[in-house]
């Protein structure tokens, strides 16, 4: 059975897996944004701490995803089998590019523009929201793009710990030694990744033009 025939025959389950997959990605990205953005902003003025935090995040990134899922299973509260463990692991991966690009994006805003904003009498909060963040937006969005593409890919591994998603087909195909079933998981994942990336890319361009 070809992969597209498999998809057609199992369309109810395919739909369910796509929803699970998107759910995992959306939840992890939401958490990663909620942590990465404010921490990134807070680190802008603390160069030493910034190096340290980005260093730790870099190390986290090098842990193989399958291992990280495994490590998290015995951890109380966040661990165990299922989606919540997967979301924690995916968030950890997604935080780094978001945090790093938030820092870099803000630091690289033209200092004369920031100084003139201060000189005009903007409060630090106004400088951040009206000047630094809008001008850092393209870099920040690039980080979100990288994080989401990675999340969509790595979320396939979440099936290994019972979190569902399109990875289910990939693991099933591996078990059945059936490439067509593997493709039935991998191709929709690639499709989602391309769609999300080009959507965010379009958004990034339109923000950059302003």
């Amino acid at each position: 059975m070809k992969w597209y025939v498999f998809l057609l025959h199992n369309r109810v389950e395919v739909f369910q897996r796509i929803v699970e997959h998107l759910g995992l990605v959306a939840a992890s990205m939401a958490i990663a944004l909620a942590i990465g953005l404010p921490v990134g902003i807070a680190l802008v003025r603390r160069a030493k701490l910034q190096r340290w935090v980005i260093g730790v995040a870099n190390v986290l990134q090098t842990i193989p995803s399958l291992a990280l899922f495994g490590f998290l299973i015995p951890v109380p509260l966040i661990g165990g089998i299922g989606a919540s463990t997967a979301i924690v692991a995916l968030s950890l991966y997604a935080i780094l590019p978001i945090l790093r690009n938030t820092c870099i994006g803000i630091v690289e805003v033209d200092p004369t523009v920031v100084e003139s904003a201060r000189g005009m009498g903007m409060t630090p909060r106004q400088v951040l929201w009206q000047v630094q963040l809008p001008l850092a937006a393209p870099v920040l969005l690039a980080g979100i793009r990288v994080a989401s593409a990675m999340c969509i890919g790595v979320a396939t591994v979440a099936a290994a710990i019972g979190a569902g998603g399109l990875g289910v087909f990939i693991f099933r195909g591996l078990a059945m030694v059936n490439n067509q079933v593997i493709l039935a998981g991998a191709i929709p994942v690639a499709g989602i990744a391309i769609a999300v990336d080009s959507g965010l890319g379009y958004f990034q361009k339109s923000v950059g033009k302003r």
Partner: protein, 261 residues
């Protein structure tokens, strides 16, 4: 920052009293500065790079805080004022204009009135008035982005932005420094007319002697963070201090170069 009142003992808009500025690392950028700026005059801060001109300027709007001494605006120590409020009452123009690249010209010019909570209608009208004042037709320029403006136009917008909330004091940090000579000459000429008309108290930083002589009511010469002296343009040309001689010499050599061309 309040409007001039009769109750003030001195007629100075701005005064430095033994003001010093030291870096946290220990270097002294300004030492013991005593300087008074009269209401409505254009005081030039003249010096080489690193002489402390820009630092002096930033002490006035508290982008930097004096390590010692006092700076008074209309008789009040600025230390006692909220820096945010203080800055909203002082116009500030820098080299390369420092315009907000993500905003239209209109939004750029309206920034301080908006921070001060003016109603939108009033801001719009004021922006139009300011654009006309600096010689940019509003219908042509209001909606444009800074990236589509020439250097001279950006500087005009910078001046319009600084004047928008009608501050009594204007700080200008080499505003025409990055412009080509022709554009610079045009803007200097227009600015001189504008300054005479608006009667703002202006502190103007430059390293260009001719600009200083052309625009200044008085010229304060700084060298290595110290005030060498304050001169009217004619006193400046006659002054005997070595530092001034160097400046005047540079002026003559510059003039000779131009004559030769």
């Amino acid at each position: 920052m309040t409007s001039p009142t009769g109750s003030l003992q001195d007629g100075y808009a701005l005064a430095f009293q033994n003001a010093s500025y030291r870096l946290p690392s220990g270097g002294t950028l300004i030492s013991n500065l005593n300087l008074r700026v009269a209401r409505g005059e254009t005081l030039i801060l003249l010096g080489r790079s690193g002489s402390g001109k820009t630092t002096t300027l930033k002490l006035i709007n508290r982008l930097l805080d004096a390590s010692e001494g006092e700076i008074l605006i209309a008789g009040k120590p600025i230390r006692s004022l909220d820096p945010i409020e203080l800055r909203r009452g002082i116009g500030y123009v820098i080299q390369d204009a420092g315009l907000f690249p993500h905003w239209t010209v209109e939004r750029n010019i309206g920034v301080v009135p908006r921070l001060n909570g003016w109603p939108e209608e009033k801001i719009k009208a004021r922006v139009r008035e300011m654009l006309t004042l600096v010689g940019l037709p509003p219908e042509e320029f209001a909606e444009r982005r800074p990236s589509s403006l020439s250097g001279g136009q950006k500087q005009r917008v910078g001046v319009a932005r600084a004047l928008a909330s009608d501050p009594p004091i204007l700080l200008m940090d080499e505003p025409f420094g990055a412009l080509d000579p022709m554009t610079r000459a045009d803007l200097q000429k227009e600015f001189r007319t504008l300054a005479a008309r608006l009667r703002k108290t202006i502190v103007f930083v430059t390293h260009d002697v001719r600009e200083a002589l052309y625009l200044g009511t008085r010229i304060a010469v700084l060298d290595q963070g110290r005030l060498v002296g304050v001169y009217t343009p004619s006193e400046f040309l006659k002054a005997s201090e070595l530092e001034i001689h160097a400046f005047v010499a540079s002026l003559h050599s510059g003039a000779a170069d131009e004559g030769a061309q």
